[in-house]
Amino acid sequence: MRKGYDIAVSFVLAVGVWQLVVWATGVPHYILPGPYRVWQSFVFNFPLIMEHAQITIAEVLIGFVIGAALGMTTAMHLMVSPAARRFMLPVMVFSQAVPVFALAPILTLWLGYGIASKIVMAILIIYFPVASNFFDGLRRCDPGLLDLAQTMGASETSTLLRLRLPAALPSLGSGLRLAAVYAPIGAVIGEWVGSSQGLGYLMLLANGRAKIDLMFAALFVLALFTVALHALVGRASKRMTDWSG
């Protein structure tokens, strides 16, 4: 409850500072609208915002599930296969040097204006944090525990599934929490580059028509969804790893 109180206080403070800046600078509302104006726009445009939010949420959730599954599979594969570690790991690390944003136009070209290209953006942006965090956790299993498993006559597979995997769940949780924050970024960038729906599209549209209050309202909904997803994933991974400090 203490946490909820803290969040409420900092929210009120942030809105207060925002309003103060608007008053103090006298900046026109088509440059920076005040919080109340954004709220009004949110209420007035609620059906429109929700229509677009649905699309973005669907892209993010589908991307999250597929990206997380791919990342986890890759980590397990890297763990069991020395060849994969030798040849795949360098490619994966190098691929991180390519900004995912730079791929958005080409993905749109290949996959079209629909949600597919945005889902792929979300997958690409979360794949590496999930794979690398999980792989790290799998690899860092206590060597003493692994020795013990060997004296107990455990097979490689059962050592992986019954020791390395549960021991790596906290690291997987960190990867998934990062993914929860990154996935919406991927989807929105995809929408900016080319789409006719989604919160990213709506924000661009509102911006272009100088409806900055609508832009902020859409941004606010996006942020709220991201925070909710992060909290949900955080709670789920905490449940899975209630044993770790």
Binding site: L148, M152, A154, S158, A167, T241, W243
Partner: protein
């Protein structure tokens, strides 16, 4: 007590390890001969880094990161593999499993049917009957080491390798653990690495001191273990052992 925790049915063999060992051309020991007598406690002492843990890992069939040339022979000529239980200084409990499931770790890992009744019996035997549903984090260091002992007993292996298993415990808990382990491991062939002369004086049927030049046998009191820590002959053995260790050069 007619508990299945002691005396594995088959006749117990002793073990002999003979040979050389080196890490990247750096010789750790040469022409070493280690004899571990059947159904008795052999205590192994020696300075840090002399190679005691390496010997244990060789016997346990674990990776040592070095090269061993030589033989590991059992009196019955069956391989040691699959007949060894290992316990170290760290309790190595899986933090996500409760005590009951930690004791059953071997069965879980082998995918064999877990014997829940026997696990509970052993947990009660090490005095943790009230704690079976707890996770390791909720237990003290001494309690966790007792779980590790129950887990080793659950494996029911004739050879038991102990690498400083009580080193991290306070004096009182350590003495209690020595008594409990000695009682529960009765009838098994035990090799115990220890830095504590009093532990060796209490527990050893045989005491060996490892130096850079090999293993030296140290005399043990005529009274069989486990010996009271305050018996004159235990104390005399402890003092003699201490002087012997102090006269050794560092590894």
């Amino acid at each position: 007590m007619a508990l299945s925790t002691s005396s594995p049915a088959s006749g117990l063999p002793g073990v002999t390890l003979q040979g050389d060992f080196s890490h990247q051309h750096q010789v750790l020991f040469r022409d070493l001969e280690l004899r571990v007598e059947a159904a008795e406690w052999t205590c192994l002492l020696g300075p840090s880094g002399v190679g005691k843990s390496t010997l244990l890992r060789l016997l346990a069939g674990l990776e040592t990161g070095g090269a061993f040339t030589g033989t590991i022979d059992t009196d019955d000529h069956f391989p040691l593999q699959g007949r060894v239980a290992y316990m170290g200084q760290a309790d190595l409990l899986a933090p996500w499993l409760n005590i009951h499931d930690n004791v059953l770790l071997g069965a879980r890992l082998r995918g064999s049917a877990p014997d829940h009744g026997r696990a509970e019996t052993l947990i009660a035997r090490v005095g943790l009957a009230d704690h079976t549903a707890k996770r390791p984090a909720a237990l003290s260091g001494g309690m966790r080491q007792r779980v590790a002992l129950a887990r080793a007993l659950m494996e029911d292996r004739p050879f038991v390798l102990l690498d400083e298993p009580f080193a991290a415990l306070d004096a009182k808990t350590r003495a209690e653990m020595q008594e409990l382990a000695f009682e529960l491991l009765a009838g098994r062939t035990v090799l115990l690495v220890t830095h504590d002369p009093s532990e060796a004086a209490r527990l050893g049927h045989h005491i060996l001191i490892m130096t850079a030049n090999g293993l030296n046998r140290h005399p043990t009191p005529s009274r069989p273990p486990i010996r009271p820590y305050d018996a004159p002959e235990t104390l005399a053995a402890q003092i003699a052992l201490m002087s012997q260790l102090r006269s050794q050069p560092d590894a």
